[in-house]
Amino acid sequence: MEVAIISGKGGTGKSSVAASLASIARNILLADCDVDAANQYLLFQPQHTEEQNFISGQKAVIDYSACTRCGKCIDHCGFEAISEVDGKVTISEITCDGCRLCMRICPAQAISMIDNNKSRLYCGTFRHGHMVYGRLAPGEENSGRLVSLVRGKAKQVATENNCDMILYDGPPGIGCPVISTITGIDKVVIVTEPTLSGKHDLERALDTVFHFRIFAMVVINKHDLNPEITKGIRQYCNLNNVPVVALLPFDPIVTEAMVNGKSYVEYAPQAEISLLTENIWKFIQNEKP
């Protein structure tokens, strides 16, 4: 079974909940799809068994000994990435999307492409099973494709090691990397919080999950921070036929556990939040979508 933990809004506690679920499981495959800001490896310090390069894209570069400054590339660039600066045709590394059109149309053949190759994909083992995660190098892009790679690798490693469950810690938002994380999986757990922003982002996240017809369940973290909004979220979920599987309390133990390099279930197994998280785990396993 493939299950993803997502949140819409960042900072709702998605990764802490995911880490704790992974600590309850036996022989799990935990895949960190938050490739912009991978955090699970910080907690679980996996022993690496494999490291791969990820070509996140390409950038166009100009050979100035060949450039005739005809300006054809400037006119054709659909991303406004090329301009003339101080009499020199200049490609903005930041804005270039790597589409290669300028390279193809340059009459002087002065443009070539170079790979962005600083991002990595890692596999390893950790105290609760196996781990696959991607780390996008700062400033590199195509996080959606790296997520696809993480997922492909996760499935392969899970099969080789008889892991029944793949748990994905998803990225925030609802864009390309999130879509890559949830496409074709069995269940999505959305971790939200009772703030106006949390509720609003949950609604957008649920729309995205519905768009891809995936079974969704909701966890309201820090529910006691605002009982009214918690009630509002429960009503919203009820109307949309989405189960709210846990109300987790605000507990400083979550941060304390993180500082100590542990998930909160590992750090305080008898705490209320840990016991409630075990219920989420049971629900994930029993509920047939």
Partner: protein, 291 residues
Amino acid sequence: MKTLKIAIASGKGGTGKTFVATNLFNALLHAKMPATIVDCDAEEPNVHLFFEGTPVKNSDVFQNVPVIDESLCTHCGRCHEYCSYNAIFHVPSLKVINVMEELCHGCGACFVACRDNAIHAKQKSLGSVTQIMINDQSCFIEARTRIGVYSSVKVIKAAIAEAKTDSFVILDSPPGTSCPFIQTANLSDFVVLVTEPTPFGLSDLKQSVETLSQMNKMMGVVVNKSGIGNTEVYDYLKEKNIPLLMEIPFSRDIAKAYSTGVLITSNDKNQRNNFLELFEKIRQQLWKSQS
């Protein structure tokens, strides 16, 4: 006056980026300074939850996607070959050619590739930009992408372009360190990174700092929820010589007020002064670099 664009960003989500952006903007409003806030978190825009005003403009942001006229297509395959995004699906033997609009980045390579005049452009909406006047000199601009659209970059750029040039512009940046964040940071003069003093916060802060350093952007840090976690974030800032602009102590009351959409700068003069002080510190950093 010269426009000053300040992006409020964070690698990790939920550190309080929108909290800082909205309160900084609100403090400027109360101080009667001309200000614009642009919600660049187009996947999950939230700034609208905190401000009311009169909508004055709402426009869609479009991207060109190709439409293939099969009666003219000779199945030469050049458009398929030119497309770097696998957005043109082509099986020559079956004479099947399809455009997968979700994958198209609108680069225009297929139009150039086609020699049979079989491709023309269609406009596809990626999202919208809404402008709301809060008073006669200040406004709020929201970028909002449609659900299922691969990238918010074009919508974000369109929203930032709408910002009034004669006001101080606060950009509430998207989280992370990938394209949407980079484009927002690229269009700003100064980036404020909001973090929390925890191991996850530090790890994500490092990613953001590395990205901004590569871009030669000026930056400073706001530590939110100070008092929780540990001191590693502070050690890192000292080591990298990054200015600590502000600390916001963790408080259940602040968290609770924020959860209901109440800004702490609305009722509390001291908090307004704290955020105005943040603004002045940012300006001083910029002036220092220019002199």
